[in-house]
Symmetry: C2
Subunit: 322 residues, 2 copies
Amino acid sequence: VSVSGSRRYLALCGGVGGAKLAQGLAQVLAPEELTIAVNVGDDFTHLGLPICPDLDTVLYTLAGLAHAEQGWGRGDESWAVHAELGRLGGPDWFALGDRDIALHLRRRQLLDEGLSLSAVMRELAARLGVAHAIVPISDAPVRTCVVTDVGRLAFQDYFVARRAEPVVRAVEFDGAAQAELAPGVQAALADPDLAGVILCPSNPYLSIAPMLAVPGLRPALTACEVPVIAVSPIVGGQAIKGPAAKIMRELGVEPQANVIAELYRDFVDRVLVDTRDAALVAKDARCLVAPTVMRTAADRQVLAAACLSLIEQLSGCAPPGP
Amino acid sequence: VSVSGSRRYLALCGGVGGAKLAQGLAQVLAPEELTIAVNVGDDFTHLGLPICPDLDTVLYTLAGLAHAEQGWGRGDESWAVHAELGRLGGPDWFALGDRDIALHLRRRQLLDEGLSLSAVMRELAARLGVAHAIVPISDAPVRTCVVTDVGRLAFQDYFVARRAEPVVRAVEFDGAAQAELAPGVQAALADPDLAGVILCPSNPYLSIAPMLAVPGLRPALTACEVPVIAVSPIVGGQAIKGPAAKIMRELGVEPQANVIAELYRDFVDRVLVDTRDAALVAKDARCLVAPTVMRTAADRQVLAAACLSLIEQLSGCAPPGP
C-alpha cells in the first residue's frame, strides 16, 4: 500500500448528486490526484448542438457556475435565445440558457475541428478555470434508451419531455458495445498510483449503468486491487433527486440503500449509506454509515473526506465477503 | 400589357441597400404582388450555424427588427452568447447576437428536418409577421469567393475578417454552376402577370453577380418581355455603403452610376441614378433620375413608387437601345 503523496483516485459520476461529491473530492485532492469519469448516456443533439448534460453539470459545479437549486444549467444565466426560439416556432421542451448555448456552440466547433470529446472537455474546463480532469467515460457516443410501457424512448424524451413518468421495463445503451473507455479513464485505471475508485451517488440505472456498459470498465473494477466504494443515492427509501427509487420499484427492486451493494456486488467493496439508514448496516456487512446528503458546500467536502478515509482503511485489507 | 390589379413584380436584392428598397416595395405592394429574390453568396456556416446575411437582413428589415445604423443584425439584441463564447476561446471575428442565434438555430433545425432554404425562410418570415415572399435565389449553396492580392478568400473572410481591405482581382461563385433558381424565383419569372423586374441598389459584384451566376437567371432577364430596371448603388462616385466603388476601381472601372447600365447592358432597360448624378443622364440615355438615397422610411416608399412608375411608363414601349 502506497503511503506517499502520489495516491490517485478515480470517481465515476452522473449528474447533480455525483457532481456534488466530485466537487467535494476536487476540494480535498490536487488536480493530479483525481480523475472524474462522467456518464455520456444522457448526451444528445438538440438544435444541432451537442448537449452533454452530465459532463456540463460536473463542469459547471466544479467551476462554481452551477445553478444552486435547479439541478441543471448555470446560476448566472439569461434566456434571450430560448425566448426567441419560442417565437420562431422552435421546440420549448428542452430549455438552454444563453451562456450554456455558448458552451455547446464552442463544443460543436471544437468537435468539428476534429478534437475528441475528452480534448474538448479539457479545453472548456481550462477556460472555466477547472484544473481537475473531467473525462467522458467514452469519446464515442453511448446513448441511453429507456424501454417503457409507452415504448422505447430516447433518454431525454423519457427524462425531460415525459418527466420520467413512463414505467421503466429495461434500460439499454445504444453504441456502448462499440465504444471504448476514453484514454483518460484507461490511464486512471492502469495508474500504479491508483488508490481507490469512488462511485458517486448517481442513479445506478441511468448514470452508472451506461458507464458500466462500456466494454472494459466492469472487468477492470472487478479485477481492481484497490478499494472500490460507492455512495448510495438512495436515502430513507427515496432518491435524493431524480427517478432512481421509482425505477427500482418499477423493476421489482425494493428501493433501499443497500440495493446499491447488490447491484455492484461483483466489484464494490463497501457502500456508504446515510446516517438515517444506519439500521441497514446490521443487515448488510458491506454497508457503512456516513452523512451522504450534501446540502452545503461543507457537506460535500465532509463526504469526500469520508470516502477517502474509508478507502484508506480498506487499503491493504482483504476484500470483504458479501 | 395588363392593366388589371394582378400586376406582379420581382425584386433582386442583396443586403442593406437592397433590403431598404425591398421594404419600400413591400409597403406599396400586396404580398401576392411581390417576390423578393435574395443573394445567398454571402451565406456560410459559422459555429455549425447556417448564416444567411442577406436573407436575414431583408427579413429583419421587413419585420421592422433590423438595427437602424449597423447594417446587419437586429436592433433589439443582446450579446450573452457572444460574450461567453469569447470567454470559452471561441472566434470573435463574426459577432452574432442572442436573438439572431435563435434564428440560425431554428434554421439549422428546419434544414435538418429536410426543408429547403426557401421553405425555411417562409416559416421564419411567417413567424416574424412578414407576409411578402423572401426567396433565396437558389436553394443549393452558392458561395462567393474573392480572388485578391492576398489570395482567394471566402466571402466572409474577405468582407468581415479582413474588412474588404484586400485588392480584388476577380469574384467567383462556387456552386453556382450546379445550382438552380429556387422554385419561387422560377415561378415569378414565368408568371404571366409579371409586370417588371427591379434590381435593387446592391453591390453589382458581391450581391447581384452571384445571383446572375445561377444558370437561367441572366437568360430569363434578357428574354424578359416586361421592363427590367435597376437602381444604382453608386451615388456621386461612391457606394452608399460597402466596397462597391472600391472594387470598381480595383477592377479598372470608373465608379459612376451609369456603370450599372453597362454591367447589366444585356437585360436592363433603365437605371435610376440619384438626383446628384443628374448630369449622367445627358451622357447615357439608359439613365433616369430619382432620389435613390434612402435615409428615412418615407424615402424607401418614394423610391419604390418611382420604380413602379418607371416600369409602368416602360410597359408596352419598345426597349430602348443603348
